[in-house]
Symmetry: C2
Subunit: 429 residues, 2 copies
């Protein structure tokens, strides 16, 4: 038996509590897996006197971060406190002190991952962050190890449970966005201020991490085009269903001819595609590799125990490396130059719902505009609205460039017979 490995935990919220539960509850299994006892040595908390749902010895608690970060007894710092600026300073200093890092912090890794990984490489330390994306799904390991031999060309993820819960409810119950959001807030699936989730920002951070890993290039948060779900209407969802699509908030990262695009946007996903049946708060990441083809990884995207499972799996990896003396030897830092796609290079199918005047010649005018910008159409559905002098037209295009679609939509804006461009969705599957 080797010497015990001592960890310092930054934070004892939901995930931190789960980490303590697993490290204590699976003590023997973890010793068998790693050859070492793993001991929680110190835990940083804000309030030393708060009652906790896990028992941690009073003398292990501290409200002084340096008790952990500069504590020579501690081998591994497990960061589950969240936040960005202050947390980044702690982690950089912990690395400076030669400590290995396990973090669940997507904001930190999306915004400062490269800087942290560079410092880790300099100091010969491990930095693992499996829990930062898709909670309990070991997707980072899969990209880094499982597909190390392949060239990944597409990653599509349902990586935000809140929005997937909302869209699932809207689809299954025909409910409106605002009503489902309110319900999700009551159930604790959505925050009081839901902006980060519903506007796609949380998903964008996760896609930054996944695309950086999958494509080996430093994708920045600012490279991700983001559109949330707050404008998705129940009508859009119902029309989608009729035509064989489910609306999902997808993170989509693509690489062709060395050029990358990354977006987060509500997308019409064909019901036969495996992502279409990922419902509720579950997450899933679809990965397409040149050699392997289509794969998908499904599981819980958040929650105390699923997220803690990923944190402790990373901890096991750090401890195995410690016992072999090989920490910091396999960096996930990007090594290829980043080239972004232009709007001309981004291509997909689109779903367009228009409200138009119900009179002769309208469809001809519309289809001419598509033709002019070289957007060819897969199908067109027009049906009159009984209660209303306007008609609805749904168009699904073939693969078209985003630049071409932008030109089409700009012309629609100034076309008198179009009353509203009701909605535009990317189509996948």
């Amino acid at each position: 038996m080797k010497k015990p490995i001592k960890i310092g935990l930054l934070g004892l919220g939901t995930v931190g509590t789960g980490v303590v539960r697993i490290v204590e509850g699976h003590r023997e299994d973890l010793e068998k897996q790693t050859g070492s006892a793993i001991v929680v040595e110190k835990v940083l908390v804000q309030d030393l006197s708060k009652l906790r749902s896990v028992s941690v010895d009073r003398d292990k608690l501290t409200d002084q971060p340096w008790d952990i970060i500069r504590n020579p007894e501690i081998d591994v710092v497990v960061e589950v406190m969240g936040g960005v600026q202050e947390t980044k300073a702690y982690i950089l200093e912990a690395l400076e002190q030669g400590k290995h890092i396990v973090t669940a912090n997507k904001d930190l890794m999306a915004m400062h991952g490269p800087e942290i990984l560079a410092k880790a490489a300099e100091k010969g330390c491990d930095v693992f962050y499996e829990a930062s994306v898709a909670g309990g799904i070991p997707i980072i390991r899969t990209l880094v190890e499982g597909f190390s031999s392949d060239r990944i060309t597409k990653i599509m993820g349902i990586v935000n449970g809140t929005t997937n819960y909302i869209l699932t409810k809207m689809s299954q119950e025909g409910a409106a966005y605002a009503d489902v959001l309110k319900e999700a807030q009551m159930l604790g699936y959505a925050e009081a201020d839901p902006t980060s989730d519903v506007e796609g920002l949380d998903a964008a951070r996760k896609m930054t991490i996944l695309s950086t890993l999958g494509f080996h290039s430093e994708v920045a948060l600012a490279d991700v085009k983001v559109k949330g779900i707050s404008k998705v209407s129940k009508e859009d969802i119902q029309y989608g269903k009729k035509l064989g699509y489910e609306v999902k908030l997808l993170g989509i990262a693509e690489k062709h001819d060395e050029h990358i695009s990354v977006s987060v946007e509500p997308t019409m996903v064909k019901t036969s595609h495996p992502l279409a049946s990922v419902n509720g708060v579950f997450n899933a990441v679809y990965v397409y590799g040149e050699a392997v083809g289509e794969t998908m990884f499904y599981g819980p995207g958040a929650g105390e125990m699923p997220t803690a499972t990923s944190v402790v799996a990373d901890l096991v990896a750090v401890v195995r490396n410690l016992n072999l003396g090989v920490n910091g030897q396999h960096s996930t830092a990007p090594y290829l130059e980043k080239k972004l796609k232009t709007d001309e290079q981004i291509s997909s199918k689109y779903f367009v719902l228009l409200h138009v005047e119900d009179k002769a010649g309208v469809l001809a005018q519309i289809t001419q505009i598509f033709a002019r910008h070289e957007v060819s159409l897969e199908s067109v559905f027009q049906h009159p609205n009984e209660h209303n002098p306007k008609a609805e037209i749904i168009i699904i295009t073939h693969d078209a460039s985003q630049a071409g679609m932008n030109k089409v939509l700009a012309e629609f804006e100034s076309l008198d017979v179009i009353q509203t461009i009701q909605s535009v969705y990317r189509v996948e599957g």
Copy 2:
């Protein structure tokens, strides 16, 4: 740059060809991933003069296994020739010579895995076998690394593409087993002698490997209860659909209170379960962990490039270990004693379809037999058959012990009013 790593390939069939394609085609990526050039040094083939779809220098081909196994130049033996006895001898000798092993051979690992892993541990060598289960899905890595912190209690797998193709076609087209099998043989999805696939033997080998890894106990092939799909009728599938189930050939491994059961059997899977929508030749493995909860991993189960992706990902892992000098340090050998469940301890829901005489009192007799053996019923459907004096009864039980169900079925055998026990399925989801 470190010295080139030389591999010897045993076999140049479908998977071997894919391995050469990836090692040659992704040469630069693999060097970046591992820090070493990977070189195919020798390839064992049966026929030196056969035309190949990949170009391998004539002087690298050999028909003498010892040219590879006892070749001091070769660092890693990649075994993609299949077979068991002879292949086992080659691999044990290669390990004896200090060579690391990557194999795609499920038969070998299911039957002789523990012996091979023991020899590897003795010699300090790596043995990796990701490609032996579920082709391109990195499921072994996921169990060993991704869920190292968790206790896995259930693994359910669609791990045979041939049978999943057949059942999907039967479900989607209402076709009969024999017709679809014939079509699958014509398309190359089924062998001329399909026994190993359709009788569940191939799936049983894969479940032996997965359950050994997931439960850390040495599950033997003989511990797996196996039933194939050759008796699945299109009526069963249609009745299942009406009640909200798809018939899938599932490998099911469970562990409760340290006791294990493993089976392969056609199963009624609720359509809302993620396994129910895994169609065609795709594979998927559903893993339930105490902490993580429900997860599922989906992808191609076979094929030249998907399987080669897994082989070369293993090769990357071996080469990284070689460069760190840490091969043979993390064995996947089981370390817990195996305890198997008795029939009293195995519990599930069941679907039973009976053909009975259409007269008063029959249902009462049948339900009394269930009650006598403490099998409680979730639902009962009876409907008369217009063309026939017999009626059909479908019963879905609550969770019941296999022992109890066996007693029920034994009594049914001798009950006059039951004409046929048409089918009995396990129910999941």
